[in-house]
Amino acid sequence: MSVEIEAVTRDFGTAANPALRGVSMALRSGEFVALLGPSGSGKTTLLRILAGLDFPDAGRVLIGGRDVAQVPARDRNVGVVFQNYALFRHMTVFENVAFGLRVRPRAQRPANAEIDRRVRELLALVQIPELAPRYPEQISGGQRQRVALARALAIEPQLLLLDEPFGALDALVRKDVRRWVRGLHDRLGLTSLLVTHDQEEAMEMADRVAVMEQGRIVQFDPPHTLIDAPASAFVARFVGDANRLAASVHGGRLDIAGFGGFDAAGLPEGAAEIFVRPDDLRILPPRDGLAPGLVEWSRPAERGRWKMLVAVGEHRLEGYGERAFERGAACALEFQALTAFGARGERVSINGREAAPSLR
């Protein structure tokens, strides 16, 4: 089921700081999209508008081609998994899942035997058939999550909305559940929207990720594009775990405090921000022509390399080296690639071959 959101705005009585400021995006049928952003960026507001629990002040929302501006939640047939699951506490797991079928108008309500069959099927699908007679307070967080999912799927939605659904799970369970939910999405042919502040989760599960900042979508791209070509310093800071450095441009030269200068073609005069991924930062023995640093710690990493934290003046940078260094040992840093953002958001990617030699 396709979803189109056009210039949606929403403010909660604070016009100076609206929750959504003209958001547009389109989900293709069958797509898994993640809304990624820090808390307060408007992602949950957008999800609630899609669910019909909140309504935009302006703009259009189309689900499967139908304008849903006047359609309340109960008539949308959109599955929602809430952040804290919102299971009905006085109902058994079975009744929780059956709820969506039992509240249908009499003419469309399945017979009891049919409801029973469908609920058992759903509980089998989410792999907790034995929990049917339990109450929500008697089962674990991971199990509640499965119940919430089964309950949302009971109404046979084509659009599934997930609001931070893995936040309450511990790290080990979370990885499994993510993979499993994505598998379910593919198997059932759903269109899914995941709201999360966890970039790893978004990158791992979604076909495309929409990064939100202060009520706007600042980039909507497949995960690899977010990494390779972040649209703004905000995206670069939020996605991946790049080292961030403050810099400035003077007379065509990009100066990074403590590192010397680069050729700054394409960047205007003024302040700039630099992002270097740990993978693009090589730690070498001290060498002329490279910026010096002091190793704070080094630990073994994959493929025989060592991951290190290096202090350069005020900065702390993570990078990799071919061998371990003593704590406090001197070293040199080689940038193999970096991304620079100018004062007005201009992005320049600098390749290591050009960057490294110009370091003084």
């Binding site: 629990l53 109960r74 959109v78 919102a86 506490r89 249908r104 309950r151 009971a154 109404i155």
Partner: protein, 277 residues
């Protein structure tokens, strides 16, 4: 055990004793006095005072007033707490304040207000008399005054629980296709059913025991507008102590039964029920 919270043993014992003495003096002694005074001359005179026609009429009236006031306040209290906890609307704070009004106003004043409005010299008095409607010194006045005084019990018992439970389950129900009434009866109400029962019990106890507001609007017409608490007062003022305390024992028993029922409820549901100010 932490040393800082370890008071001297003698001090601890003294404090416990003090609490005990207070409990006995303030709660148990009066209760015991009611029953001993009632049975001072044996069980027969006490029973006689209870089955005497005026007493029976007072009991009937009390039950009748409660039978109207409690359901009305149950409906009103559920509606008010539902609206406040689950919806946003202008004037919400005002409504919350209004619900608490009967708690902050002296019951005697509440009764007087109704006399001022509906009494013979009141705003609507002449009009009511023309149409042959009697509110003050009659059943409608008693019901009105009792309903007003006991309104907060159900609402104030439900409201904190409903607010604590939030709106998530209702929102989940909506996304699953449930309408407003379905959501209310299948999700909201079952989630507060024990608290509701507790609130109704408290409301009922107060409705049957209310004195001040009822005293003002009743007119003390024996056999007609006297409720049980008023009947007790009249008997007492006429030096019919056994009768007064016998009827008072019934009221006290009602209170004890209410408390026991509430304690049982709390035991079953493992959570305290009551008014959180």
């Amino acid at each position: 055990m932490s040393v800082a919270t370890d008071d001297a043993p003698w001090l601890r014992r003294l404090l416990v004793m003090l609490a005990l003495v207070f409990a006995v003096l303030i709660f148990l002694a009066p209760l015991a006095a009611v029953f001993t005074e009632a049975l001072r001359r044996g069980i027969a005179p006490a029973l006689e005072a209870i089955v005497e026609p005026d007493a029976l009429s007072a009991m009937r009236l009390t039950l009748l007033v409660a039978a109207v006031a409690v359901p009305v306040n149950t409906l009103g209290g559920v509606a008010a707490s539902w609206a406040i906890a689950k919806f946003d609307f202008p004037g919400k704070r005002l409504l919350v304040t209004l619900i608490e009004l009967p708690f902050s106003v002296s019951p005697v004043i509440s009764g007087l207000v109704y006399v001022l409005i509906f009494g013979a010299q009141g705003w609507f008095g002449p009009w009511l008399r023309e149409h042959d409607v009697q509110i003050i010194f009659a059943l409608p006045g008693l019901v009105l005054a009792t309903t007003f005084v006991t309104f907060p019990f159900v609402a104030r018992t439900l409201l904190p629980l409903m607010q604590e439970q939030g709106r998530e389950e209702e929102e989940a129900a909506a996304t699953l296709g449930a309408g407003g009434l379905q959501t209310f009866f299948r999700v909201t109400l079952p989630n507060v059913k024990w608290a509701l029962l507790g609130g109704v019990l408290l409301c009922n106890a107060r409705a049957m025991g209310e004195f001040g507001a009822v005293a003002v609007v009743s007119g003390h017409i024996r056999g007609a507008t006297n409720t049980m608490p008023l009947h007790v007062e009249i008997l007492y003022n006429e030096y019919m102590f056994v009768g007064a305390f016998a009827v008072a024992s019934l009221l006290a028993l009602l209170g004890l039964v209410t408390l026991a029922a509430k304690a049982l409820l709390e035991y079953w549901t493992a959570r305290p029920i009551g008014i959180e100010a």
